[in-house]
């Protein structure tokens, strides 16, 4: 499994990528939608994990752009939204993708990644 992490908080995604690598999951990371669009041209990914709120290209907009480049790519969203209502709205907008609320439970993220790969 190879995943791409996209979040404008570099310290968050770099640390998350390292922790995933300890668990046998190859994870690259970038800090903007623009970089993500370039990265998927260089490397194929199974899943993109996207922050919802990013400057310039939001996570939801990035999902659509990445899907155009790779229709097979699956998605998980990370959000700083705290409420169940926000979560529900975001999930509806994101279609079949999954939502996880920050701070992320790593075991839950891995569970979701595996679940997506299985389906």
């Amino acid at each position: 499994m190879r995943i791409l992490l996209v979040d404008d908080e570099a310290e968050l995604v770099s640390t998350l990528a390292e922790r995933l690598s300890f668990r046998g999951i190859e994870a690259d990371w970038v800090t903007s939608g623009e970089e993500a669009l370039k990265q998927v041209e260089k490397q194929r990914y199974d899943i993109a994990v996207l922050d919802v709120k990013m400057p310039r290209i939001s996570g939801l907009a990035l999902k659509k752009l990445l899907e155009e480049k790779d229709p097979q790519l699956k998605f998980i969203f990370l959000t700083g939204h705290g409420s169940e209502e926000d979560f529900a709205i975001g999930s509806a907008e994101a279609g079949e993708a999954y939502y996880l609320i920050k701070p992320v439970d790593l075991n839950l993220l891995i569970e979701k990644l595996k679940e997506i790969i299985r389906t």
Binding site: E11, L12, T15, E18, R19, F22, M54, P55, P103, V104
Partner: protein
């Protein structure tokens, strides 16, 4: 003057700023969470015989401390913002009020690829006004400018012969959207409540909010 409009706008403004700050606090907590998790991973690996690099530990500790300071700063800002609604009339230093507003609005601006620059004089710019309503109307002005896709907006407080003024300087033309009436009823209601005046100078890219000396 519609107090109903002012109250509705006030709640929306308070909600928007609180949501933005809580989102940033969540980001700081998320980084602390991952740093703590990585420390745990290193400990587990050390138990299995893999040595821990002290430099990595120092970096992780520094990262945690940085994020705690960040979250602490955010909470202090939120607290100051919340207290700006305490008094309907107060003597304020516009420099401090604008510093607070810019610190609150910088992230929403960054989300729109814009930056807010504060140009402060080396002396206080005192005003007697309603601090919360002033922050609210300035946010609406900024929101209008940022919707017009301005990359940089400067905020400049100044003393005038009759009171004070705040210049918002960008590169903008009016109307940005012909369908968007500005100032709309909400800005007009706030202007009236603040006894302020708005001048729009599209040729030189300025909006000027003037407040009288005596509220």
């Amino acid at each position: 003057m519609s107090w109903e409009t002012i109250a509705r706008e006030g709640f929306q403004f308070f909600g928007k700023m609180s949501a933005s700050i809580s989102h940033e606090i969540k980001n700081a907590l998320a980084i602390i969470n991952e740093s703590a998790g990585l420390l745990e991973d290193f400990s587990i690996l050390a138990e299995k015989g893999r040595p821990i690099d002290p430099e990595r530990l120092k970096l992780l500790a520094a990262s945690v401390m940085k994020q705690i300071q960040r979250a602490d700063g955010l909470i202090k800002r939120l607290n100051r913002f919340a207290h700006s609604a305490d008094d309907p009339i107060k003597i304020i230093d516009l420099n401090e009020t604008l510093e607070l507003l810019v610190s609150l609005a910088q992230r929403p601006a960054a989300m729109r690829e814009a930056r807010l620059d504060l140009v402060l004089p080396d002396h206080p710019v005192m005003a007697v006004t309603n601090p919360f309503l002033l922050e609210n109307i300035l946010w609406l002005f900024l929101d209008f400018l940022l919707t017009g896709n301005h990359k940089v907006v400067q905020l400049i407080p100044e003393v005038t012969g009759t009171g004070v003024r705040i210049r918002l300087v960008g590169q903008f033309g009016f109307p940005v959207d012909p369908a968007q009436a500005f100032p709309s009823e909400r800005e007009k209601a706030l202007l009236e409540a603040l006894r302020g005046e708005l001048e729009m100078e599209p040729q030189v890219g300025e909006m000027i909010l003037s407040l009288q000396k005596n509220f």
